[in-house]
Symmetry: C2
Subunit: 456 residues, 2 copies
Amino acid sequence: MSLTESSAADIAKTASFASRHLATLSNAARNDALTALHRALLDNQDSILAANARDVETASRAAKNGNLNQSILKRLDLSRPGKYADMLQGILNVRDLDDPVGKVTLKTLLDDGLVLERVSCPIGVLLIIFEARPEVIANIAALSIKSGNAAILKGGKESTESFVAISEVISEAISNTQVPRSSIQLVKTRDVVSSLLAQDSLIDLAIPRGSNDLVRYVKDNTKIPVLGHADGLCCAYLHFDANPDIAVKVIVDSKTDYPAACNALETLLVHEDALKTAFPRVAEALLSRGVSLRCDMPSKAALVESLPASQADLLLDATDSDYDTEFLDLTLAVKTISSTHSPDSAAEVAIEHINIHSSKHTNIVITGSKEIAERFMNSVDSAGVFWNASTRFADGMRYGFGTEVGISTNKIHTRGPVGLDGLTIYKYLIRGNGHGAGDYFEGEGGKKWKHEKLSL
Amino acid sequence: MSLTESSAADIAKTASFASRHLATLSNAARNDALTALHRALLDNQDSILAANARDVETASRAAKNGNLNQSILKRLDLSRPGKYADMLQGILNVRDLDDPVGKVTLKTLLDDGLVLERVSCPIGVLLIIFEARPEVIANIAALSIKSGNAAILKGGKESTESFVAISEVISEAISNTQVPRSSIQLVKTRDVVSSLLAQDSLIDLAIPRGSNDLVRYVKDNTKIPVLGHADGLCCAYLHFDANPDIAVKVIVDSKTDYPAACNALETLLVHEDALKTAFPRVAEALLSRGVSLRCDMPSKAALVESLPASQADLLLDATDSDYDTEFLDLTLAVKTISSTHSPDSAAEVAIEHINIHSSKHTNIVITGSKEIAERFMNSVDSAGVFWNASTRFADGMRYGFGTEVGISTNKIHTRGPVGLDGLTIYKYLIRGNGHGAGDYFEGEGGKKWKHEKLSL
């Protein structure tokens, strides 16, 4: 075993041990740790912001030399107005959420004196790997402690100074509470990550937060279950009967509110009968906000006819691969959906396109028809399916979950924005009085099951 | 791409397509398919049993030559009294369970006219790989259809004839219903399995049912999430205050009711103060039922003192590896837990042993103390934790879930016996009226979230 491997095994073992103690703490004890965490981050704001300023300075130089993306620089900066306060408030918000642990979700009388309960409990050990955003450390630490999980955190290299400063404050703060200090461990070197990804017997869940490449790297290099999304290819289907005001509002917000987000719109499917009704107004609004439209032939033809030449000249031709591309930018692929058989058959074509090409993150329909909307919501296979509402609503805070751990496009465990519930599992408890299972059988002398649902 | 790979891709694509249609069907339509399935298996009982008899004959020859385990032969035989009737009844039981699809589990008013719902839905495509038991085909087909999932099934080679016969009846039966015929696909050749395990973009969940080796093979060879358990190393902790009658009843049932089952007891931890009270009676009862006891020194010494020589002579010495062994046979490892500091500290030692050595399947405590029991149930990390009740209760039928898909020792998604709920996930639906997310922000002019919980 190399030094890195043995270090990864030690980290994972310590975390596993801490997780078992943490799992037995009361909500009050976990909340006390969050209060201490909040206090300490408030008290140490100046030194943390000073450390962050050093990261920002290094990153600014890299950005000037073209070695770093401007958006990373922006995400890195904790001194932006309101950001530190939001981070602090986030900890209190998590603290004040309902306890996700110890919820009894099923209770059955199996037989006299033999009661089955299903009770929520922490998952165990989380491995969270994230990129630049330094406030994620506080956020994730709060969510982990509140849900009774131990967490191993690895941040991006651009935020090293901020990360070290925040992590020291966190360790110090929780060491004065009942939460074991090693419940939150911070890994500083990159080379330990691949060894940690090999600890699948001790680490229960990996959560990569960052670029598609990071998520793919994690998914491809571990047997630990991975929670997250590699892609956010979201689609909208504009039905022929859509109210143009609603269409403009929803599509412009979906595309332009934050184009780099995973829940931003990337593909617009337009019913052919909407090409000359709602669509030109939508296109005009998008073009006037600087969105490049990559159109197929019918949609381009319709716009060339209805838009002024100054705008029509901006239109681009779509290629097939555009419908499989997450642009993360002010670019939108447009595809026309023909309705050969009936106006409604187009909805089926749109649904099929989405089920094949979208990343099952968030997809929306804009229509005046409740029937079409319900069919769309029933048939589209994705974490979020919305009717006449922006894709950008797919977010834990907006859903009312408090802070979110991330957004999952997994088909098991937890899907969509992941709040505290996504960090819990359950166990089955039976309380008996000397019951053996062999006494229950059909026929003479066999005991019978009661299987009576008890109120929770 | 080889022929096998293209065939696996075709099977997975067809299943994915079928799953999307299946997901939109009503409970009544899915139930109609189960009724048809039941009817067809009843009508074709003779030909299916004839096919099964051919499998049994081949297997009997192999068993005689020492090339097949007797327990496989036993599991293979569908003509054993009640087995076929149980299989048929199982289909009706699944049909009559509550619909697991379309359950609204969260409803929130985000803002006026903007409502969020979380609704249960099928996972999509299941790949189920199982060994000899032919009745599993009917069982899994019923569970898949009821939960709205498409399933690809691969059975063991010993049950090929039974499997082909049942599969033809199933395909024929559902082809006359609204459930797409390719919702249940049956794979006959073994070489296609590894190619199917590579279809992680189309197959959503793999469920291996059978030996530890099978489960490990599947886990090691796919990126598809795997639901199941490789091991069933279950432990019991006998506290010093245990009622001897309860101890005998629970431990004998746990060990001897069905030793080859994953929920059979493998390790008994005995508080040192129980060595001369409850333990000798437990040991006597086990020995008289032919159980080999592999004892550590203190437990052996206690038994040598209290048991007649004829029984004491049967005792074996435990090695360290016995505490990590799933015997699946009439063998039990016994370990003494000393209580150096206080009687209660032994419970902590037992809990730590279990958290390290058990397979997190089912672990039990036998004690008269509610406090010790609750601490044990709170601290032991496993799918099932029971107080004064046999490990053998860990079973979907016994829990009242109807038929089970298997037992999961995963830490995410679903844990313990998996019923229909384990085959569903959910999606978030939003119904709006032209809402954009960019309108919601702190400060002047920003809309405010309502986040009002609505009744379900």
